[in-house]
Symmetry: C2
């Protein structure tokens, strides 16, 4: 079982779109996948059209992170074969303050996931991280085996790359997660008609030739529409370049995994 | 002197683009404006091409928020007439953890800005807030007189609107800032060619007819390019619809101010 964090502190770069579509495509390829939504905005939960069942307790990771419930109890089906989810709720925002007051905030999520590695129920855990440099985001990096960095083909996106790379270095050096690797850098919202997009991709390919995925995700309004129907991109726009883009990412991701 | 927070917990919706361009346009209309970058990503600082002078201490709000320095010492010129800035640095991320441990984290920024209202040096303070539901974002809301909510014309953007409206309600009800008003909702990245954009604008106009600005900001690659040159949109693309869009927002913002 491998834990993959989809993370970049820059906002709106396609973290949630990547987390939910990669998770769905890995499941379509026969992997058992658990999507953990650790962003209090809960976009991954609503983007998949998940109706969270009414219950007395919080459906999110809130209680497990405070040691008040078992993580496995929070797993619910996604309606897609092979894909389960632990949803998020706005109460997760409160955890940032609660956890920040404890000295173990960095490794809390890691110690929650560690025992599940011995008797794995899933092949992959995919973490959708919030945009920030706060407690939930750093806990996600500390818990992950690998990180996928979605990167918008814009200048401000490029500036953020140095920061997330530095943060990964710090997490490794701190001893919280010495073996954290960069799974890959995914270029998102790529619009081939603009010079800016080509310049940014060239820049990333020059500096990070081994990390950048060959697959880039095209800018398409279909991605903006899909969450309003609670559908993955393949469900919403099958047989289109956008609809197939995350299937080709999943294939490339698995090929890298097998050869590394 | 009025403090305006540019805030929305959803990432990548145009908060920084709005903060720096609105600040520059208000200054061009003769107002004295201070832009406070309270996002550890420091996109507003780099987007204006600000070279932060080397110095022994941190140039950001870090020390003032901990009571270790005077806010006024951190003000530096932006190179544009009437526009000053307090830059951000990644060290601000550390403040989230430090402040979260104190019971006054919500009102720390407010009490820092309050005394400046009596002997104002500027007409407007514009706060560029980080994407999150964390300490710096809520402190920004508690410190503000009014909030401008940039909203992407996408489904996931619309979902975020209910959350930020609820958060404003909570900040008012908590007593931390009972008189916080919604200055306005700004539709950003508007692409008239897509149904989705028109549907989202119609939805917002129906539910918030008084808050939505008439001015909407068009989607344009020029906005992605401008920060790479450290230029405002008017400096980078004068006499274009994109280049003029924030000038018309500034005019609408001031007209509302004068009539309310
Ligand atoms: N390839 C794409 N082309 C066009 N729009 C896209 C693409 N990928 C995502 N989007 C849209 O862009 C917006 C931002 O994407 P998303 O919410 O996945 O980013 P994020 O990094 O998770 O944001 P946050 O920082 O708020 O968590 C959404 O409205 C989404 O529908
Ligand atoms: N109207 C627009 N049209 C096209 N691109 C835009 C527009 N406004 C902003 N952008 C680009 O979209 C990206 C996100 O904008 P920006 O960084 O201002 O958003 P933000 O809400 O401040 O993000 P964060 O949540 O990370 O703070 C940037 O690359 C910016 O250049
Ligand atoms: Mg997201
Ligand atoms: Mg910003």
């Amino acid at each position: 079982m491998r834990v993959i964090a989809i993370s970049n502190q820059k906002g709106g770069v396609g973290k949630t779109t990547t987390a939910l579509n990669l998770a769905a495509e890995l499941a379509a390829l026969g992997k058992r996948v658990l999507l953990l939504d650790i962003d209090p905005q809960a976009s991954a939960t609503s983007g998949l059209g998940i109706e969270v069942p009414e219950s007395a307790s919080s459906p999110s990771l809130y209680e497990p992170l405070l040691g008040q419930a078992d993580l496995m109890e929070k797993i619910i089906p996604s309606g897609r074969e092979g894909l389960d989810i632990i949803p998020a709720e706005t109460d997760l925002a409160g955890i940032e303050i609660e956890l920040a007051r404890s000295d173990t905030h960095l490794t809390r999520l890691r110690s929650l996931l560690q025992p599940l590695k011995d008797t794995p129920t899933h092949d992959y855990f995919i973490l959708d991280c919030p945009p920030s440099l706060g407690v939930l985001m750093t806990a996600g990096l500390a818990a992950a085996d690998g990180i996928i960095i979605p990167l918008q083909c814009e200048w401000l996106g490029l500036e953020g790359l140095a920061k997330i790379m530095y943060l990964v270095e710090q997490i490794r050096a701190s001893g919280a997660n010495p073996h954290l690797v960069i799974e890959g850098i995914l270029m998102t919202m790529y619009d081939a008609r603009t010079n800016l997009a080509r310049q940014v991709v060239d820049e990333v390919r020059t500096h990070f030739p081994n990390e950048i995925y060959q697959t880039s995700i095209p800018r398409s309004i279909r991605f903006g529409e899909a969450p309003s129907f609670g559908l993955t991109i393949r469900e919403h726009a099958p047989q289109t370049p956008a609809g197939e883009s995350y299937a080709s990412l999943a294939a490339e991701f698995l090929t890298r995994r097998e050869t590394n």
